[in-house]
């Protein structure tokens, strides 16, 4: 399985994602520059965190116009898994691959801390190694991670099971206090209609080693790589 890790000029988690894929999972992964017009030949696409074009106005608003995003949109339509982390999530929303938007955190500060997530969908390429309701501890690091969409969109996301994660406390309770950024209905990550595009604010690539405080992020990569499924199913 071969991963494309997109690189916008202001991406800053691209190297972390590449290293995690290669060093922790032995996967094949290439950086793909945002001016490229094709992602053919890749089995999965990762849109990493960072500040794609400085993002002084709206995060990801300029990145959606990069040539590579046309290729990502075509690949997504073909069913290629696309994982957007943090700024990657923002870009996927701006590009129309996912509904809704990420706005300024409630409280206005940038927030970097580990949070707890409740897995609410396990029938997708990214979390199929997880158990429904499993609680993950994974860090967030963002200034604009407050997920927003209108009620009709939110209702549809919920009815179709497209909410992938919700912020929760360490016991799994989805409470206002456990919501770090004010996201509507504690939503931390969502899927597209086909279930092959996932965007989330937390950083799974930062939770793949015991020395960094958590290995809960590994299930994203084992799910994608198809490993570890035997023990779950």
């Amino acid at each position: 399985m071969k991963f494309a890790v997109l690189r916008f000029p202001g991406s800053n988690c691209d190297q972390d994602c590449l290293r995690t894929l290669r060093d922790n999972f032995g996967a094949s992964a290439d950086p793909v520059w945002h001016k490229e017009t094709s992602v053919d030949g890749y089995d999965a696409i990762l849109v990493p965190g960072g500040f794609s074009f400085g993002d002084y106005l709206r995060c990801g608003a300029i990145a959606r116009y990069s040539p590579v995003m046309g290729a990502v949109t075509r690949a997504a339509a073909r069913g290629v898994p696309v994982l957007g982390i943090c700024n990657g999530f923002q870009i996927l929303c701006e590009a129309g691959l996912l509904p809704g938007a990420l706005v300024r955190n409630r409280g206005l500060h940038f927030i970097c801390r580990p949070v707890h997530l409740r897995v609410t969908n396990t029938v997708n390429p990214f979390t199929r190694a997880a158990k429904e309701g499993q609680i993950l501890r994974i860090p967030v690091a963002h200034g604009e991670g407050c997920y927003f969409a209108d009620d009709a969109t939110l209702d549809e996301l919920e009815q179709k099971g497209r909410v992938a994660f919700r912020y929760c406390d360490e016991n799994g309770a989805v409470t206002p206090a456990a919501n770090p950024n004010g996201s509507v209905r504690n939503i931390a990550g969502i899927l597209n209609q086909q279930g092959n595009v996932l965007g989330l604010m937390p950083h799974p690539e930062r939770a793949c080693e015991e020395r960094l405080g958590s290995t809960d992020g590994t299930l994203f990569f084992t799910s994608l790589l198809g490993a570890g499924l035997a023990s779950v199913s």
Partner: protein
């Protein structure tokens, strides 16, 4: 365009003394024109020339077996860390800009220090910060203003570091009235490189093209170096145009493009445009290369039309670099900078006549021997006042406080409280190397490029330095080294930031001189050369100078991941030991300051020999696997250190402690700040080995008690003090956030 005539008033406005003007006339053999006067003014400012501090800085030890690039040679020193890898690091201040425009002042401070590191060819990997503000607690005079400065500085650092993708993994922040109106903002950056990647800031190779790369030049930050070399006054706010505006996205592009360019092998020399911008980068590269440089300002990318040569040369617009390229490789530069969508222009070439020659509109507008601006800058040996040691504290003048409440008050005080409100605004995890996150004695970072575990700590104590400058210098080095030892690291080298008042005042110069001597003495004792640093003078507000605040950042190497040690207790049932037992009075303690509002006494002196022995013994105990946790006993004394051990681990853990009796009052026993003490926790099975090791080395070691339970209990001469650790945790963890978020300040938009 008509330039102003050179009058005594114009000369004085440029901060040039009549004697210095005569010297300029001698160098040029004529009167300088207005542009040249501007060039001399910034290059001979304290900020660029260190004219008041240079003789003192020579006292630092700067050599050692691991030094690859020495202090002062280049933008930052470089130290070997083994296996062909090296680290480049430095600390720098942006105090004055942050006082008038906290958000941009702090942001551009971060930008400047990052450029210093990648100019060396290193990939920057992490930041630390050392901050000082006036009181922010409710009811303190000026608290609203201080909170505004504090919030602005923190969000400015966050804005720049987060965007560029550099984790701020540690630091220290103090609040005291001495810094009201004159905050200190010192930022440290460390980068990683292979030995063969070290880049030089010299203009070498006659005929080699000189490129300007990065952001366009604008009118922002005009003469910021000169601004930074004056005292702050009520009118300083009108100097706001001297503060630059940062663009971290541009810096990120510049960083990536420069590292790609350096890897291509076509660079002969590279220098960032920081203080004094184009002026400083051209004359310094020429001076270092023993060459001359010829630059045409018409070719410089500019943000606006109609800028005069004076403005272009003195602008401190951010995110710009000067690159000297091997002839014939020009297209490679254009290709790389086009890829990153960054402006670039060939603006001149290297010459052999030693002259910095600047052209504009077809005419030569400045012609100055390059080395006269750098090497021949004036040097002043300032007068130092005599020093009378402070009177030791008379303990009978200190009323007995409620000691139980005092510990909670100390832990909740902004200076000692947990700084989560700060570091949660920093992306302290990006680059996936933060192994020990902010909040332990030293931060530990795995630099994935080279697989090395690096530890870093930054320390300063203005209170002690005010009372005894030499001890203040020694203390910050000893504490930084002790913090590294507690984390399991061997210290390698140090960088210093000297924050002082106006050196023309003999008592201020004496503080500077004595602190430098204290730092130098301690760095020799720990065998940690100073690899470079920064001097920030004229830190005065209308009420007077700041307390002298030298700050030292130290970097260490952890040989084996298993040696990484944290400060928090790890669970119940461990034995608690004190290594290094000393007693002292409450002189210069945070207890005396925070509880009794008194800054006085004679600080207990650091015994450097004992300190080195303690730290080596601790490291050996860690290497032998005896130590479960280790914490430096510093600000707040024994009681605060024990409480921090209880509340800074993964979960609060209680402890039952019996303190040694030094026949002093209870407040002294609990809160004195004698240096050279470390609290460790060990498994019961390791106690005998630890005791034997300490006895063999001659390090006093005392068993204080055991961990466990929900309370911290300290017994002293039969009297028991008891605190619920959950309560201590809440006081310590939430006080700063409660204070800052309850009183919403408008933050600068970003």
């Amino acid at each position: 365009m008509k330039e102003p005539a050179i009058t005594p008033a114009i000369i004085a406005k440029h901060g040039i003394t009549p004697e210095e003007f005569v010297r300029i006339q001698e160098i040029l053999g004529r009167d300088p024109n207005f542009t040249e006067l501007g060039i001399f003014s910034v290059m001979w400012s304290e900020h660029c020339s260190y004219k008041n501090s240079r003789p003192e800085l020579k006292k630092f030890p700067t050599t050692g077996p691991s030094i690859l690039v020495k202090a002062g040679e280049e933008n930052a020193g470089v130290l070997d860390v083994g296996d062909g890898w090296a680290v480049a690091f430095k600390i720098e201040s942006h105090n004055h800009p942050s006082a008038v425009e906290p958000f941009q002042g702090a942001a551009t401070g971060v930008g400047g220090i990052i450029r210093d590191i990648f100019t060396m060819g290193a990939r920057p990997v992490f930041l630390l910060d050392s901050l000082r503000f006036g009181p922010v607690d409710k009811g303190s005079p000026g608290a609203a203003t201080n909170r505004h400065l504090f919030a602005g500085v923190v969000s400015g650092i966050a804005h720049y570091g987060n965007c560029i993708g550099l984790p701020t993994i540690g630091g220290e922040t103090w609040f005291d009235e001495t810094y009201a109106g004159n905050p200190l903002v010192n930022v440290f950056c460390l980068g990683v490189l292979r030995h063969d990647q070290i880049a030089r800031g010299a203009a070498k190779g006659v005929g080699n093209p000189v490129f300007y790369v990065g952001a366009e030049t604008g009118r922002d930050g005009l003469a910021g170096a000169a601004f930074a070399s004056r005292e702050l006054t009520e009118e300083s706010k009108e100097d706001r145009p001297a503060v630059q505006v940062g663009d971290p996205f541009r810096e990120k592009l510049l960083l990536e493009a420069c590292l790609e360019l350096l890897a291509s092998g076509c660079v002969a020399g590279i220098q960032d445009m920081g203080a004094a911008g184009l002026t400083c980068s051209t004359c310094e590269t020429a001076s270092r290369g023993g060459s001359g440089i010829d630059v045409d300002l018409d070719l410089v990318p500019k943000r606006e039309d109609g800028m005069t040569p004076y403005e272009i040369l003195l602008s401190e617009s951010q995110e710009r670099m000067l690159v000297i390229v091997h002839r014939g490789q020009e297209d490679r530069v254009r290709e790389i900078f086009d890829k990153w969508d960054l402006p670039h222009a060939q603006v001149g070439h290297v010459t052999d006549d030693g002259i910095m020659r600047i052209r504009a509109a077809g005419a030569v507008v400045a012609e100055i021997p390059a080395s006269s601006l750098t090497d021949q800058a004036p040097v002043y040996h300032r007068e130092a006042a005599d020093w009378t040691p402070p009177t030791p504290l008379d303990i009978s003048s200190v009323p007995m406080a409620d000691l139980s409440a005092a510990l909670t008050s100390l832990l909740a005080h902004p200076t000692l409280a947990r700084k989560r409100w700060i570091w949660e605004q920093y992306d302290h995890m990006v680059r996936n190397g933060t192994v020990v996150a902010p909040g332990s004695d030293a931060a530990v970072f795995l630099a994935r490029e080279c697989g090395k575990f690096l530890a870093a700590s930054v320390d300063g104590n203005g209170l002690i330095t005010k009372l005894d400058p030499r001890e203040g210098g020694r203390r910050c080095v000893a504490e930084a080294a002790r913090n590294l030892a507690c984390s399991g690291a061997v210290p390698l080298g140090a960088t210093d930031n000297l924050n002082f008042g106006n050196p023309h005042k003999p008592e201020i110069f004496r503080q500077l001189r004595d602190s430098v001597e204290g730092i130098a003495e301690a760095c020799r004792a720990f065998d940690t050369p100073v690899t470079g640093g920064n001097v920030s003078l004229y830190n005065e507000n209308p009420t007077g100078p700041i307390d002298p605040t030298p700050v030292v950042a130290m970097v260490g190497l952890i040989e084996n991941e298993a040696h990484i040690t944290r400060q928090g207790f790890r669970g119940g049932g461990d034995a608690v030991w004190l290594l290094g037992d000393r007693d002292a009075g409450l002189d210069a303690s945070q207890f005396l300051l925070i509880i009794h509002g008194r800054k006085e006494g004679r600080p207990p002196e650091t015994d450097l020999g004992a300190e080195v022995l303690l730290q080596q013994t601790l490291l050996d105990a860690i290497r032998s696997g005896l130590i479960r946790s280790a914490h430096d006993c510093a600000e707040g004394g024994m009681a605060v250190a024990l409480a921090e051990c209880c509340i800074s681990g993964d979960r609060p853990v209680g402890a039952k402690i019996e303190l040694p009796d030094h026949q002093r009052r209870e407040d002294e026993e609990l809160f004195h700040e004698a240096p050279g003490r470390v609290i460790v926790s060990v498994d019961a099975s390791s106690e005998a080995a630890l005791a034997a090791l300490c006895a063999q080395r001659g390090v006093p070691a005392l068993r204080l008690g055991t961990t466990g339970g929900a309370d911290l209990t300290i017994e002293l001469r039969g009297r028991e003090f008891q605190w619920d650790v959950e309560g201590l945790f809440v006081a310590w963890d939430s006080s700063l956030g409660d204070l800052m978020d309850a009183v919403a300040e408008p933050l600068a938009a970003h």
